[in-house]
Symmetry: C2
Subunit: 346 residues, 2 copies
C-alpha cells in the first residue's frame, strides 16, 4: 500500500501524546460554539448559558485490560469511571455517556451483559445517563469506546494550562496503589499458567486490588473543593502517572515545578506490596498510572483551607519554567521528572 | 470464566438491534437535561435554549472495511460522514466530533495521517470541529470510534417514531449504489488474489465506486427541506438498507407502510452493475445499505412542495400497523418487508 512508497515514521518514535499533537496541530476551529477543542481532558462547547463538556476514551483488550484476570463487570465499571474522571478534571460533573462495544462471537450475551451491568452501576453511582452507542462484531477481541458529556457554568471550568507561578501543587487520595494491584494480578496469572491447581495468593491485598479493579472518579473531591470555596488554578486527572500528568500541567502552563518525594501520599498497603515486588513506592506513584486521583494547583492564599484535610495533600509548588520539573528526595537530591507512564503506542 | 456457568445465549440470536434493545431496556434517565436517550439516531440533551445532539459510531477492520481495497483517506472520510448523517437525520447539523483510533504497529504514522486527513476533509466540507479523542495501540487491527455533537432548536428536531398514518414516505437521492460498489471492489480483490498481475477492471463504474468509497451525508437535503418549509414528520438515515430503516420508522411509529417498487430511485449505473452480478437492483436498495440517504415522512399537504424535485422521491405511504410493511411490485404483487440488512453481529 501507499505507505511503502513514503518515508516511514514509526509510531513508537512519537508516543501517544506526540501522535495526538502531530495529528491535531493544523486543526482550525470553525464554529463559534467551540470554545476549547483538542488539548485538555474534555472539549468545551458553548450551547447557550452553561458549557457542554465532551470527552472520549477507548479501551482495547490486550492493551488496556487482560480478561484472564479482569472481571467483565469491573471492566465496564472502570471504562465508565475513566471517562467520568475526565469531566471531573475540568471541575464539572459528567451527565451523559454513549457506549460503543465491538466484540467477537466468543462472548456470550451474558458476558456483554456483565460489561453493561458494570457501566450502568457506575452510571447509577455517579448519576450519569447512558444515552446512546453502537454495538458491532469484531474479529479482534473486545473493544469499549465511551464518550461522555458534562456541563458547567463557564466560570467554574478549570483547564490544565492555567497554573500560576508559586501556586501549590496538590493531589487527592493516594497514588501508586492501582499499579501495585496490576502487578499482583499479572503475577498470579503467571503462577496460574504454570500450575492451574495453585490458588491465587491475593489475601491481604484488598486495597491495591480494589484500586486496580474498581477505581472511583473523585466527584467527592470536586464537591469538597466547592464547599471549601476553592477554584483550582489548573487541574488534570492522574491516568498515566504523576510524572506524566504533572508534565502536562507544567508544559501547558509554561512553568516548572518542585515535587517533594516525602509529601507524595502513598497508602501503607501500597508500600507493603511494593516491597514484595522490589519497586520503590515513589516509582509506582510517579509512573504507575490508573489512580484517577485529581492533580491540581491552588493559590497560596487557599492553603489554610486545605492543610488539615486528610483527602488532600500539598506535594510541591510551581516554579519558573527554566527551573524545570524536579522531584526532591528526602535527602535533598533533585531528580528531573520525565514521563515514563504507560505508553499505549509502544 | 463465569459465562461457562450460565445459560449461553448466542449473540447471533438477537442481532444488533435486539442486543441494543436488550442491553438498554432497563435504563432509567436521571437528569432533567436528558431529553432523549438510547433509541434514535442521536441523543437529545437540553443544555439551555438549543438542544445538544450526540451520536457515536464504531468502525472495525475486517467488519466494516477491508483495507485491501479501502484507501485510508477514504476510510477516514466515511467514518466522519456516517456520524454526520446521524445528526442530519434528526433534522440538525453536526458541529463537533471526537475521534478515537486504535491501531497496531503495522501502521506507520503516514498511514494514520491519511485516515486523519480524510476525517479532517469531511470536517472542512461539513463545517464540523474535531474537538477531542483518544489514540491507542491495538494488537487487533484498525478501529475508529467517532462521536458527534450537533445542536438544533427543540422545535426543529425530527425523530424516527413520529410518522403519522397517511403520511407520504420519501427518500433523497438514489439507493443501492454503495452496495454495488462494494461487490465490485470485493470481486476485484478476488481477481487480484488469484493473479496479482491483473489490472483491476473498474472502468465505467465511477458512480457506484464513489458511492461506496466516498459517501456524502445529505446536509443539502436538510437545507432544501428547510427552504421548502417542510418539517418531516419522521426521519432516519439509510445506513442498513431501505428495508431495515423503514422498519425502524414503522415499528417506532406503530404504523404499517406500503412501498412501491417502481418508485424506489435507483441510478442507471446501479442497474447496470447489478446486472453483472445477477442481483435485482431492488434487492440492492432494500438490503444493501451504506447509502446514507435520508428516509422521511411528510404530511400529504406538503406533497406539492416536493413533487417536482429531482432530489426527492415519494416511494410510498404510511398505513395502519395491522396492514404490515409491504413492498408492492410493478405487477401489483405484495411482499412483506423484512430486515435483511447487513448485521454486524453475525
Amino acid at each position: 500500500m501507499f505507505e511503502d512508497r513514503k518515508k516511514r515514521t514509526e509510531l513508537s518514535e512519537l508516543g501517544e501524546f506526540g501522535l495526538i499533537n502531530f495529528l491535531t496541530k493544523n486543526i482550525v476551529l470553525k464554529n463559534s460554539s467551540t470554545v476549547k477543542g483538542v488539548g485538555d481532558d474534555a472539549a468545551v462547547i458553548n450551547y447557550k448559558g452553561k458549557k457542554t463538556l465532551l470527552s472520549t476514551d477507548l479501551l482495547v483488550e490486550g492493551v488496556h485490560f487482560d480478561l484472564a484476570y479482569y472481571p467483565l463487570k469491573h471492566l465496564g465499571y472502570k471504562a465508565a469511571i475513566v471517562n467520568f474522571s475526565d469531566i471531573l478534571a475540568m471541575n464539572a460533573f459528567p451527565k451523559q455517556i454513549t457506549v460503543s462495544i465491538a466484540l467477537s462471537n466468543r462472548f456470550s450475551l451474558e458476558a456483554i451483559e456483565e460489561v453493561y451491568s458494570g457501566i450502568l452501576l457506575a452510571c447509577d453511582n455517579y448519576k450519569v445517563d447512558l444515552v446512546g452507542g453502537d454495538t458491532t462484531s469484531s474479529n479482534l477481541g473486545l473493544i469499549i469506546s465511551i464518550s461522555v458529556l458534562g456541563d458547567a457554568p463557564a466560570r467554574d471550568i478549570v483547564f490544565r494550562d492555567t497554573a500560576g507561578k508559586g501556586d501549590l501543587l496538590c493531589v487527592s487520595g493516594d497514588l501508586g496503589a492501582a499499579y501495585m494491584g496490576l502487578l499482583l494480578l499479572a503475577r498470579e496469572k503467571e503462577v496460574y499458567k504454570s500450575d492451574p491447581t495453585m490458588r491465587p495468593d491475593l489475601d491481604g491485598h484488598d486495597y491495591v486490588l480494589e484500586r486496580q479493579l474498581k477505581p472511583e472518579a473523585r466527584a467527592d473531591i470536586i464537591r469538597l473543593l466547592n464547599d471549601l470555596q476553592i477554584k483550582p488554578t489548573s487541574m488534570i486527572d492522574i491516568s498515566d502517572g504523576l510524572a506524566s500528568d504533572v508534565l502536562h500541567i507544567c508544559s501547558g502552563s509554561k512553568l516548572g515545578c518542585q515535587i517533594y518525594e516525602e509529601k507524595i501520599p502513598i497508602d501503607p498497603a501500597t508500600v507493603s506490596t511494593s516491597k514484595d515486588f522490589k519497586i520503590s513506592p515513589t516509582t509506582a506513584a510517579m509512573n504507575g498510572g490508573e489512580d484517577y486521583e485529581l492533580l491540581f494547583t491552588i493559590k497560596k492564599t487557599d492553603y489554610a483551607k486545605i492543610k488539615d484535610n486528610p483527602a488532600l495533600s500539598v506535594i510541591g509548588h510551581m516554579t519558573e519554567e527554566s527551573s524545570g520539573v524536579n522531584l526532591i528526595s528526602a535527602s535533598g537530591t533533585m531528580v528531573p521528572v520525565t514521563a515514563q507512564g504507560w505508553d499505549g503506542l509502544r
